[in-house]
Assembly symmetry: D2
Homo-oligomer: 140 residues x 4
Amino acid sequence: MLPETPTIETQVQVMFFDTDCAGVVHNIAYLRFIETARTELGEQLGLGLADMSRTQLFPVVVRIEINYKRPAVLGDRLVVEGRLETVERSRFWCAFRVVRPSDGALIVESRQMLALVQMPQGKPQRVPAHWMECFAHLRS
Amino acid sequence: MLPETPTIETQVQVMFFDTDCAGVVHNIAYLRFIETARTELGEQLGLGLADMSRTQLFPVVVRIEINYKRPAVLGDRLVVEGRLETVERSRFWCAFRVVRPSDGALIVESRQMLALVQMPQGKPQRVPAHWMECFAHLRS
Amino acid sequence: MLPETPTIETQVQVMFFDTDCAGVVHNIAYLRFIETARTELGEQLGLGLADMSRTQLFPVVVRIEINYKRPAVLGDRLVVEGRLETVERSRFWCAFRVVRPSDGALIVESRQMLALVQMPQGKPQRVPAHWMECFAHLRS
Amino acid sequence: MLPETPTIETQVQVMFFDTDCAGVVHNIAYLRFIETARTELGEQLGLGLADMSRTQLFPVVVRIEINYKRPAVLGDRLVVEGRLETVERSRFWCAFRVVRPSDGALIVESRQMLALVQMPQGKPQRVPAHWMECFAHLRS
């Protein structure tokens, strides 16, 4: 059974390779942090990595919006909070916040629109029928 | 003297490390392609990498919007077209299109909002006064 | 007090951005996995990320040797085992194995030589005197 | 016809995402620079990216040795020099040097051993018979 609103929290510590010579986390690194969270969120939706290898049904990112609010630095322990935000017939949005618990700072927020694509044909699919029921409160 | 509308084109060939096991370019890789183009666009604005090391005045990405339109694959030769889109008092937008000349496909489009920050204090600066004159046609 | 032989284990699940279009984990991705383990190993040696920001004494990778033994794929849960291997007067070696517990496969093994560098001057330092005592059994 | 000793030179300018908060190019970034050079070297050997997609015969990195000699910094224009070094029956070595022409500094040197693998079976292949003739002077 699907959770009412799929929600996830992942943790990451900022490594050297996440930072750049301005002394802060590079803007691209946050998208890796978020992708890890999105992957775990996907598992709640029946779109886990093991499922995908088998079904060849892949969630594909169609649009990303990302706002950089505060810099994070080497060694920071960050939390990525993710949730399923809205569901449409053939796509869905996930929302993410990267926060730093040590001072409560909001570092980054992002919304990402995804579609389901059947590989290897690359054919877009509707979202599963039972999502529309389970997530009636998330339909836009 | 600044160009009327700063515009850039850079080229990149898709490498293995740009792709993922779905057989296409990974969504994060495009942000590297675009950053390289943005860097060259910055040079037209007096924000070249050598300038930055000296002035410690850095363009900082505040928001990214990116739409993934078509997949690109290993070996594709892509062109990133970038231009300064709009200028405001304390921030500016750049717009990018990643295209594949071999078939004319539009692969990715992105808009990125930047601010100028004086390091190491991290203090936001207004855009240079002469930008407002040179780019009067780009003021929003 | 330092552990007799500093040893670490970290875990990582293979994400899309770790793989390439040959369907396997890309050779560069393993170096990220290992850097995360090396960072945690460094904390046992008084070279934690928070320490570094304060002391500006950085472990710098001088040489990497890495053997790719078996491919890993999307979704694999891998363990990186790391340990301090040998200590010399002005440098030290760490050894790593990336294994896949589900089938016991050895995926990658790597040895990395590091030196300690005082930033921002970039001046190499001897390893701390107490290391030579604590790790007498690791001196080469 | 194959060149007597396949040799390549590629150029790269150091971007923000190549650097880390120690102010220098991160050790992992050089492996991207070298992979781009190795890919172009592969084209001289009939292992171009377009060839691979068709033949599914992939050069696979089996071992990397990399020595970090001098740091490079933001904005540096680097040259990667690569050449086929030795050829054995079922594997071959490529050698690379990353240099900075502005001051002649040797930044990084690397040797990489590769094998040819037939995908999707993952079966190792002998190097092409005509390599053994053309590169008789490179046989070890």
